[in-house]
């Protein structure tokens, strides 16, 4: 019995962790290209879920069409965000930029509240609600969607950053912006790209998680924070270590809630965050001066 329980905690933790990982990677990509923490990342997740809802209910699109619609719409918002709020800044010090992202996240949340209302909305599961038994534990088909989509996105990411010109250019920006600019890389365009990629990824995370957790104008806050934790554990890398960071966070939360006390679930996440920041600010897997790609 005890073993069953631990298996269930682990599986639940892995599927929540995969979401944290996706959101965390979104944080890291923008951080690496611009040096700022984009606190509006959680809002992209929220927009992903709510635009899908619009596609399904207002435009009466089928699910397979609502998903690309939602990703596109969220990406457009990401582009607007970069163009209207980040790029025009005359003195782009990191602190100014971070404060701008916080302001934008509040603005986006407020607009979403006006547009979609304050209610929570449900979205249908992609492939049914019949639980799948694994050992003594059960998961839903949606969990498998989450894990698979996360894996695919990580693979695409890896390919993009290591095997395409613009991906390599973005890595160059993260090593040294000025040097990248000197060798002819358009740094500003790379910043725009980073916003496009991370808003699209945020949207994907929001879409695949919405059938499980439901969606509302304010879901972005907590998910954003947890994703941020995952990114910190992973040392702000946009690769596998943030994924592992997310999974560790998800599993520890779930085990903590099950074995210790459910009251400390969020505390566990933030204690880990603080410990990492105090003891290993470069992340769990990073060398002291690690490459951050």
């Amino acid at each position: 019995m005890q073993l069953d329980q631990i298996l269930q905690y682990t599986l639940s933790g892995l599927s929540t962790g995969a979401i944290y990982a996706l959101i965390g990677i979104g944080f890291s990509i923008i951080y690496n290209a611009t040096g700022i923490i984009n606190f509006a990342q959680g809002e992209f997740v929220m927009l992903g879920g709510l635009f899908t809802l619009t596609g399904l209910q207002l435009l009466h699109l089928p699910l397979w069409a609502s998903v690309p619609f939602s990703i596109t719409a969220t990406t457009v918002i990401g582009i607007l965000f970069e163009r209207l709020a980040i790029r025009p800044l005359r003195q782009p010090t990191p602190l100014n930029l971070v404060i701008i992202t916080i302001g934008c996240s509040i603005l986006i949340r407020g607009l979403a509240m006006l547009f979609w209302g304050k209610d929570t909305h449900a979205i249908q599961s992609f492939s049914g609600d019949n639980p799948i038994a694994i050992g003594g534990a059960t998961i839903l088909p949606q969990h498998i969607w989450i894990l698979v989509v996360t894996l695919i996105i990580i693979a695409i990411n890896k390919f993009y950053f290591y095997h395409t010109i613009s991906g390599k250019a973005m890595r160059a920006c993260s090593y040294n912006r000025r040097a990248a600019g000197l060798v002819g890389i358009d740094v500003r365009r790379m910043v725009l790209f980073s916003f496009i990629i991370s808003s699209a990824m945020g949207a994907v995370a929001g879409i695949i998680v919405a059938p499980l957790t439901m969606t509302a104008y304010d879901v972005g806050v907590m998910l954003g924070l947890k994703g941020f934790c995952a990114a910190i554990i992973g040392g702000m890398s946009s690769g596998i270590s943030t994924v592992i960071g997310g999974l560790i966070l998800g599993v520890l939360e779930s085990l903590g809630a099950g074995l210790i006390s459910s009251g400390y679930k969020d505390a566990i996440a933030f204690i880990i965050l603080l410990l990492i920041l105090f003891i290993r600010p470069q992340g769990l897997f990073g060398k002291a001066d690690s490459e951050r790609v």
Partner: protein, 380 residues
């Protein structure tokens, strides 16, 4: 020039005296609702309900010939702001009675103000602290949580379900429910075998439920407001738990069934205020007609279903107008009138106030219902 100013001041005098004489024919009802902010799901329907009722009452010629005027302020769910606005209502707007605030925290903060200026306060918040102990000038319309809890436990006693697993949300509503259930369970001889909590924004409760599954209770009681309970309902289905699941009155709306999905919510039992389920009530029920009329006129005006929360403002309005009809419209007359309300049929229930009970509702305010095929079915 001098003539001119004399003329102007005369005009002003006339205008002022005109307003004064006009004011003598109106009763000002102050209201504090959390129309924006985290508690806006309470404040918004409350505000809409009050506006609708005042309009309707005035269209019918007012109460005993006096017209009503509602002065509604938005507190944003903030206790400090609620206190400031309460003072403003009393001192500047000179209202005779205050309806609201929407939340327990705000109500507790406003109570001293109302008591100091001797203005009746009819809170729309559920916390038991508001009217226990009884305060001369303070009333509230939502039923106490322990009435809903009592309703569940009475039903469980009939089914011989003795071992309860609790799963409550870590906000004011959940904490109050948790305390009430624990106290009542002890009184009535139930065992609490698991006492788990979850955060209001949590998205996965399988960990807590796996633990509960391992303990094998006779029933699970979950106490929270959407979306948490909907997630829990889905998780219960996912984990294949067959233990009876009880929810609080906090999710007694179609929204909950929609969020959880009719398949997952099948068989969930909960105490519901009568407004949510009036379709399922026997036609002879004393509240049926009023519930139906309220829902219809709310739908017609605002395009959405009336909610239990708006009902709290309805109750308050009815208590006030009932008091004005009987006694008169000074604060003291309204206070006495509200306290004398007896078998007043309203939305949340049938109110019978006494000097010792400033809530006036009993177990009959709720009905136990079960979700069958995405709809409510009354449990006997």
């Amino acid at each position: 020039m001098k003539k001119m100013s004399l003329l102007l001041s005369t005009v002003c005098m006339i205008l002022i005296s005109a307003t004064v004489s006009f004011a003598s024919g109106t009763v000002k009802i102050g209201a504090l609702f959390a129309v924006t902010g985290p508690a806006s799901f309470l404040g918004e329907p409350e505000k809409r309900t009050l506006e609708l009722l005042v309009k309707e009452a005035n269209a019918k010629g007012g109460i005993n010939g006096t017209t009503l005027e509602a002065v509604i302020y938005d507190t944003g769910g903030d206790a400090t702001k609620a206190v400031q606005l309460a003072t403003k209502l009393i001192k500047d707007d000179k209202v005779s009675v205050i309806i609201g605030p929407s939340t327990t925290g705000e109500s507790m903060a406003v109570i001293p103000v109302a008591e100091k200026w001797k203005i009746p306060l009819i809170s729309c918040a559920a916390g038991i602290k508001i009217t226990d102990p009884v305060k001369q000038w303070v009333f509230k319309t939502p039923a106490n949580d322990h009435i809903a809890a009592g309703k569940i436990l009475n039903y469980m006693a009939g089914k011989k379900q003795n071992n309860i697993a609790l799963l409550t949300v870590t906000d004011g509503f959940g904490a109050s429910g948790r305390e009430q259930i624990k106290a009542l369970a002890k009184q009535k001889g139930f065992n609490i075998v698991a006492d788990e909590v979850y955060g209001p924004k949590d998205t996965d409760m399988t960990a807590q439920l796996t633990k509960i599954r391992g303990i094998k209770p006779d029933a699970i009681i979950c106490w929270g407001t959407n979306p948490g309970p909907a997630v829990i309902t889905k998780n219960v289905k996912q984990l294949g738990i067959n233990t009876p699941l009880y929810m609080s009155h906090g999710v007694a709306s179609k929204k909950y069934i929609e969020l959880a999905g009719a398949a997952s919510a099948e068989g969930v039992m909960l105490p519901a205020g009568k407004l949510a389920i009036y379709d399922a009530l026997p036609k002879g029920d004393s509240q049926y007609k009023m519930l139906k009329e309220y829902d219809n006129s709310f739908k017609k005006t605002y395009g959405t279903e009336a909610s239990t929360f708006g009902g709290y403002a309805y109750d308050a309005f009815l208590l006030v107008t009932n008091a004005i009809k009987k006694n008169g419209s000074t604060p003291e007359q309204i206070r006495a009138g509200v306290e004398q309300a007896s078998k007043l049929v309203s939305i949340s229930g049938v109110f019978t106030m006494t000097p010792k009970d400033h809530n006036g509702l009993d177990l009959s305010a709720f009905e136990m219902v079960k979700i069958v095929k995405g709809d409510w079915a009354l449990l006997k």
